[in-house]
């Protein structure tokens, strides 16, 4: 049918548009020539130089460390926050959620600037700590966003049942609520990690003293001079993100299937 072919054609067109640049980067990461247009043969040398390049290695190191620390801390704070916010009265809840989602809704440049000014005002020199604080701050809302809906859909009596059976409130949270929301906690963690890995604008404004991350390094490179290793970096990043997303996706698919079977 004509309709179906048109649809398929359109899908392919858009897919081409979306993936062309990415695929070009990946293909050229194996190009044995610095040219961006001519193929000079297959090679893995850019991957090797990438690993040995001090600038890039430093960027990768900081990116991973910040992402890891930020996601761990934001997950802890965010989980406790979600549990607490869930039981608040509607008005308080609404105010707090509105403020919480400000970093999400605000332009990242405004959020970045606000951090910058804040750190200057309190006299914190820009560097690792400031960038970490900024990352934790913009990660927490996403953790809360991953967990809060699940809390709303839980049977509200399970917590009371735990109390009824003799558990103290903290025990009840630990033994009943946390296990039930654990999948969402993990999703929140993965989400925070992914966002931190990828961040540019906020990191750009909150870092200093040689602390950098991958995105910033790439930005500086585009202004100073492109190194061909950048293609290798892109490929590695692409695969990493792909894997992370597959994991997140698989988990959420499994969860929706599981919920279909519960009849309480």
């Amino acid at each position: 049918m004509v309709r179906k072919s048109i649809e398929k054609f359109y899908l392919c067109l858009i897919m081409l548009f979306l993936y062309a640049p990415i695929l070009t980067l990946i293909v050229f990461s194996f190009n044995d020539s610095k040219s961006r247009a001519k193929w000079g043969g297959f090679t893995l040398k850019w991957y090797q130089t990438m690993l040995h390049d001090p600038v890039i290695s430093k960027a990768i190191y900081y990116t991973l460390i910040i992402a890891l620390l930020a996601s761990v801390v934001s997950t802890i704070i965010g989980t406790l926050a979600a549990i607490g916010i869930h039981v608040m009265k509607r008005k308080t809840k609404s105010v707090i959620l509105n403020i919480t989602y400000l970093p999400v809704l605000n332009a990242d440049i405004v959020t970045g600037i606000s951090f910058l000014l804040f750190f200057i005002a309190i006299g914190l020199k820009l560097g690792f700590t400031s960038m970490l604080i900024a990352h934790i701050t913009f990660n927490i809302p996403y953790v809360i966003l991953s967990i809060l809906p699940k809390l709303s859909s839980l049977n509200k009596h399970t917590y009371e049942a735990a109390l009824d059976l003799g558990a103290h409130p903290m025990e009840a949270v630990r033994k009943v609520i946390i296990p039930e929301i654990m999948p969402n906690i993990i999703t929140g963690f993965l989400l925070a990690f992914t966002l931190s890995l990828d961040d540019f604008v906020i990191s750009y404004f909150t870092t200093g003293r040689g602390v950098t991350n991958l995105s910033i390094t790439i930005y500086t490179m585009t202004r100073r001079g492109i190194k061909p290793e950048i293609n290798a970096v892109s490929t590695v990043l692409f695969i990493a993100i792909l894997v992370l997303l597959l994991i997140i996706n698989k988990r959420s698919d499994r969860q929706t299937k599981k919920l279909g079977g519960v009849n309480v």
């Binding site: 049977n155 009596h157 009824d164």
Partner: protein
């Protein structure tokens, strides 16, 4: 406090935001009885139950357990357990772990826990289901796990919040019987909440009828059924025909201009009262001159009986009998004096007559 009273609610008032949910309730629950709180949605019965369980605190008044004031004592410190409306089973634990939960909190040792859990599994007919996941159980099975999880802790009082609501009719009737037997076996007090009056009448030693945060009547099932104190109770329990009548004198009532003998006295002369007649107490005969005559409007087969509707003087009577009448047939309404119940006229909030 009397020796036999295990729970006393005294002058309890409870508010949610601006709404008063319980108005000055006083209630005694006796040891080892099966007491049911019965009423429509929003009457306050669940709130009352939660006050006993410790999930709510009274705004005024107090809750006493064996003479001790427990009004603000948290649930985990009360020797009372609850079976929740939707069972509230822990989804991440299997059947055994759900049941053992309370015992583990008390830090009992493994063999003691195992002994108690096995015993309760037998009582609840769940032997063999220990390792099952909650989402693999049927509604009836989940319900048993909820009961098992509560009683394994050997509470003095078991609270049940409309536990049979989600089950189908046959299962519900079986479970009513099982719960009653269980209560006798365990020898503990059950406080049960339901909106189903048949359930309440079947299982309870004492029924407390509630409406709008006020206790309407409290007593044995037969007394509540036969001697409702007001129109609400009469209407809520069983089916009834409620008519306005005039008390001519002691033991004589006038309805729709017809005079009948009855057995109640103590009302003022010509006092306007509510008259209740149960559908199964009405006898339909051929129309006669002195009797209250009317016309059949419908007759529906209900299995156990026919439900016949007869209209007289603008009022539609509901009658249960075993005869099949045809719409349009002319009949007369007849009742024995004993089956006419007189009640003080009640000003009903939100009644549509």
């Amino acid at each position: 406090m009397e020796k036999n009273v295990i729970i006393r609610l005294e002058n309890i008032t409870k508010r949610y935001d601006d709404q008063v949910v319980l108005k000055n309730i006083t209630l005694d629950v006796e040891k080892n009885e099966f007491l049911t709180l019965l009423g429509p949605s929003g009457c306050g019965k669940t709130t009352t139950l939660r006050l006993i369980g410790g999930f709510e605190h009274p705004d005024e008044g107090g809750v006493w357990h064996n003479g001790k004031d427990i009004s603000t004592l948290p649930p985990y410190k009360r020797n009372i357990n609850t079976v929740f409306q939707k069972y509230a089973l822990f989804p991440h634990l299997n059947v055994y772990e759900n049941i053992a939960f309370g015992l583990k909190i008390k830090k009992m040792d493994k063999s003691a826990i195992d002994e108690k859990v096995q015993k309760v599994l037998k009582q609840a007919n769940l032997v063999g289901y220990e390792k099952r996941n909650i989402d693999q159980l049927s509604g009836g099975q989940q319900q048993r796990v909820a009961i098992a999880r509560a009683i394994v802790n050997e509470p003095e009082i078991l609270l049940l919040d409309e536990p049979l609501g989600a089950l189908d009719l046959k299962l519900r009737q079986e479970m009513q019987y099982e719960l009653k037997t269980l209560q006798k076996e365990l020898g503990i007090t059950f406080v049960y909440v339901t909106h189903d009056q048949e359930e309440a009448l079947t299982m309870s030693d004492t029924v407390v009828v509630m409406n709008n945060g006020v206790i309407q009547q409290m007593g044995k099932p037969e007394d509540i059924y036969n001697e409702p104190v007001n129109a609400f109770v009469a209407d809520f329990i069983g089916e009834s025909n409620i008519i306005t009548g005039i008390m001519k004198q002691d033991r004589v009532i006038e309805i729709f201009g017809h005079v009948y003998d009855c057995v109640d006295k103590g009302y003022s002369i010509n006092e306007t009262v509510d008259v209740v007649v149960r559908p199964e107490d009405i006898i339909l005969l051929e129309p006669s001159e002195k009797a209250l005559n009317g016309e059949v409007t419908s007759c529906i087969f209900k299995g156990v009986h026919y439900e016949t509707c007869v209209i007289t003087e603008g009022f539609e009577w509901v009658i249960h009998n075993t005869k099949n009448f045809k719409p349009g047939e002319k009949v007369s309404i007849n009742v024995t004096p004993f089956d006419i119940h007189i009640m003080k006229k009640m000003v009903e909030e939100g009644a549509y007559e």
